[in-house]
Symmetry: C2
Subunit: 586 residues, 2 copies
């Protein structure tokens, strides 16, 4: 039997295939996706679910003349395979050649770099409007997963796309799942539409003004082709709602949809019986804390915004939280406003968010939360300079959060501080508090932290010295210690604890026997922590060197390369310090 995939190098190669051949192709694509993702790690379930739809799309439509806009784009692997990037999945040596998301630099078939969800409809509306302004033709197709529909941007996009008066096709890939199970009122309507095969009169998409088509089996190539042919070149905004099976074709992924949304390398090779022993980390200690609190206080309430796995909220843990937990879905804006009102009404909400996703809720942090001074406890995870792809960088949360009035943003450096800060944040009623959960391996002193964190902006002098003071924030406290050791004289080492303000008294006192203050922060320098210190000393003879990341989007750059680039190694920092000091003595 000949291999179909071998012959498919571009969407054009699909045009003469029979349905049988396309089905064979789907099987072959699935095989290489499973093998590749199990080797490198990555999004498994979302891609397996959309193989047939991607084939049918490229069969019926003519990309890149017709424009396909992916949402979040973690379901673009089949698309990549069909648009000239097959080798990234068939050739072990090329497994790391292409990113996990759409990328216009890789292919003319990719329109945008996207990694955050809920953006495809707005983006497609802009593509369609530009087409109309220029008097061009062609189809514009937005693909959006059901989980992404709960995001406010998707709704705003739908509300506007519905009024475009020209061709725009929204393909809703409904697999009845976000990363975790869906929640939200809208999902009741999707269920109703699935159950009635799209016939129910009460239809969310129709209520928004869309024409509406339903595909019962979104993994059936014939059904898909038939529906896509009906809507091709349609002259008004249209939703095509298809029901697909997340993880299709991989029994383990079909059975455990959440676990196989994204997997680590080698997941399929592991023996199920040998579950890894629970290792203590910042998630486990946080979650133990939450569980204890919840048992003794019925007003403690944990919220997740669709990514519970990112902070160790396993299905088992969620079960233990019971009615004192809610996953609000991809809806960070709601999560913050909801938490603010809970706090203002006397409850004690805990809201973990990933650094990269905090970005979606700036206004709510400012207006709903900070302006009302609601005592919410937020946990910011994955806040760090990293080798992540450009869409999931965790280095911007400090400028974002710390320049909003009223919020207290804390940076613990070990388990004991983290737990003490958590406890203080949860039990106080004066401030919105965010804690930047340490990134990396757990550090424990074994000694209870007795700091009184109600003394806002009080820095801690860990080791008193002279000449040079090292203010080492959060994740980079360890780096600060290394720098001190390498310097070879007794520099002062400061753990500032607070990101949102400065300890003016302490900084003032350093002037008497220090010439240089350096700041270390695990994030972008612009608008960050160190600049506040530089501003403070602007008027004085104190020299200041700020160490952190440059303001730039980096894309899968290895972390050590970034550390070199930003001078974030002990050697490079010491060299910069010595240069600065030698300049002064000249």
């Amino acid at each position: 039997m000949s291999n179909i995939l071998d012959k498919v190098n571009s969407p054009l190669d699909l045009k003469n295939l029979s349905v049988d051949e396309m089905n064979m192709l789907a099987g072959e694509m699935r095989e290489v996706i499973i093998k590749k993702v199990n080797t490198t790690g990555g999004h498994m379930g979302p891609n397996l679910g959309i193989v047939e739809a991607t084939i049918a799309l490229h069969y019926v439509f003519n990309s890149p003349q017709d424009k396909i806009v992916f949402d979040v784009s973690h379901q673009c692997y089949p698309h990549k395979i069909l648009t000239g990037r097959k080798e990234g999945f068939t050739n072990l040596d090329k497994y790391y050649t292409y990113t996990g998301y759409t990328n216009p630099q890789e292919s003319e078939h990719d329109l945008f770099k996207v990694g955050h969800t809920s953006t495809s409809v707005s983006l497609a509306a802009g593509v369609a409007k530009a087409r109309d302004l220029k008097g061009e033709t062609g189809n514009v197709i937005a693909i959006i997963g059901d989980g992404s529909l709960s995001g406010g941007e998707a709704f705003e996009g739908l509300d506007n796309a519905a009024t475009l008066n020209s061709n725009i096709i929204i393909l809703v890939n409904d697999n009845d799942m976000s990363i975790a199970p869906n929640s939200g009122g809208l999902y009741g309507n999707l269920r109703l539409l699935r159950e009635t095969k799209g016939q129910a009169e009460c239809n969310f998409f129709k209520s928004m003004g869309f024409d509406y088509y339903y595909i019962e089996d979104g993994n059936n190539i014939e059904q898909l082709i038939s529906a896509f042919k009906k809507v091709k070149d349609i002259n008004h905004p249209t939703v095509v709602h298809m029901s697909t099976l997340k993880g299709k074709g991989l029994a383990a992924a079909e059975a455990n949809k959440e676990g196989f949304h994204w997997i680590l390398p080698g997941t399929l090779d592991k023996n199920n019986d040998s579950a890894p022993a629970a290792v203590e980390n910042y998630c486990t200690v946080t979650n133990d804390f939450i569980l204890n609190k919840i048992k003794s206080d019925k007003t403690v309430f944990a919220i997740s915004a669709a990514t519970p796995g990112a902070y160790g909220f396993t299905p088992e843990f969620r079960k233990q939280l019971g009615a004192q937990y809610m996953d609000v879905g991809i809806a960070e804006e709601h999560a913050v406003a909801f938490a603010s009102a809970l706090a203002k009404s006397g409850a004690k909400p805990i809201l973990p968010l990933m650094s990269s996703f905090v970005q979606r809720t700036y206004d709510q942090l400012s207006q709903d939360l900070a302006l009302n001074n609601s005592p919410v406890t937020m946990l910011i995870h994955w806040g760090a300079i990293s080798g992540a792809d450009a869409t999931h960088l965790g280095c911007f949360d400090i400028p974002l959060i710390s320049n909003i009035p009223n919020i207290v943003y804390l940076a613990p450096v070990n388990k004991e501080e983290h737990l003490k800060m958590l406890d203080w944040a949860l039990e106080q009623t004066e401030y919105p508090v965010a804690i930047r959960v340490p990134f990396g391996e757990l550090v424990s002193t074994g000694v209870e932290d007795t700091t009184d964190y109600s003394q806002i902006n009080k820095f801690k002098v860990e080791e008193e010295g002279s000449d040079v003071a090292i203010i080492a924030l959060g994740n980079f406290f360890k780096l600060g210690k290394q720098v001190k050791e390498k310097l070879g004289f007794n520099a002062t080492l400061i753990n500032p604890h607070f990101i949102t303000g400065i300890d003016e008294e302490l900084l003032e006192s350093l002037k008497s026997n220090h010439k240089l203050v350096i700041t270390l922060e695990d994030g972008v320098l612009d608008g960050g922590f160190g600049e506040k210190i530089a501003r403070f000393y602007g008027n004085s003879d104190m020299k200041v060197l700020n160490f952190g990341a440059k303001k730039e989007f980096t894309d899968l750059v290895p972390i050590n390369e970034l550390y070199e680039r930003y001078h974030l190694t002990p050697d490079l920092i010491v060299k910069d310090i010595q240069e600065c000091l030698s300049l002064q003595t000249v």
Copy 2:
């Protein structure tokens, strides 16, 4: 005839009124609202439309045990009158006593400080969840105008509120208007529901999972009371959709809904024949520019997000823009993503946004726009330290925008620079560009600006001097000139043009004959422009003083008081400079 309003000092005083008396009360309230708003300026139409509903709410429900959460809260004047703050409307001397929005510091009947739209449902959901956690009872009512429904946060709130499984009542005040006429697919459904008296099967709210009630005449107290009694103490999420007349009872406001959404003092006293002569200002010159561009280039496209009046997009101007203009409604997230895709597809979008509302779209600025490097032209209006209420401050846009990679944020200081920057932004294809439109009276040099803005981060030395360099950004360039004059020696005056980066070469060169650099910015210092300069000089002998606002929410504090507080007058700045210089010579 006795005056009912005289006897009403709290919601309790309504309980024994007859419907006739409540109707009389509505008339009396309308009268004082019209008089007060015409005297002080403020929101007119929204408040006139909701008088009856507010009376009926306080008649049926028992605030503050029952919790009423206002959206945007610019329709809270009747509520303020009924909850002990009547004098703010009846007594000329107290006209300025109360803010234009809900404020918990004023009354136990106000739950949150809110000024941005689309927040009430999420906030109410939190209030309801806290009630349930604490085992309490009572109704939680969110009031939301139809215009606010288009905001993503409102949708996220609805999607989650629908799943609460307990009492939450969403009162949708549908007057068929945002500030400007509504746009968006959802409004077709609201129209259908109005036309069918709530009977249409295809129902947006039902599709989200809500129970649904319709009030045909939302200005009819009997109908309102009857409906509110039906939903009082209901045990599941419910929407009450009422049709009201914006501006009800004031002929001019009923006829000109947009013009009377918010009015200036004395609007009703003006002779309609004596329209003010068109005075050139930054809005008119911007809009003349846009109009010219649109005539010659069919790909130029202007976008507004529900506040066209704030940047002088009058109904007449919008008509002239024709098909090259779209109001996307209260949907800033969509606006930015939409504009990004337009630009990426070869069109030339222009997107004006108010400083305070840019906050709602941080993630889209970062992910949809900056990461894709889409050449959108944004105009940031009302970016300035101001005496505004705490919910509409314009001093946070610099930290918000300028710390995102790739975006070029420009600060013109006069008409000629503004127009040159606009033209450059629109015609280049390399960067997302935002222009901070000067705030205040138009300044014109009469000389064409020939700067090449493609030389990114190139500052302009306006007047060369020595010892002290004044880097005066945007609105504060004039202040910089005043400082220079007052200093009495030849200081250097620099107009930086660029907010997002620094001119390292120039800053380096200043070291040779300057001891002090001061920065002036019309915004909050934390995370802002001046700190980047302070960081640059941290390693050198150059002293730096940053002038700008403190990181705080101010609420209707007179601007001159803020200037004193922040040392933003020529006298105070000169004094600080002299102190700094004298310290150095000691």
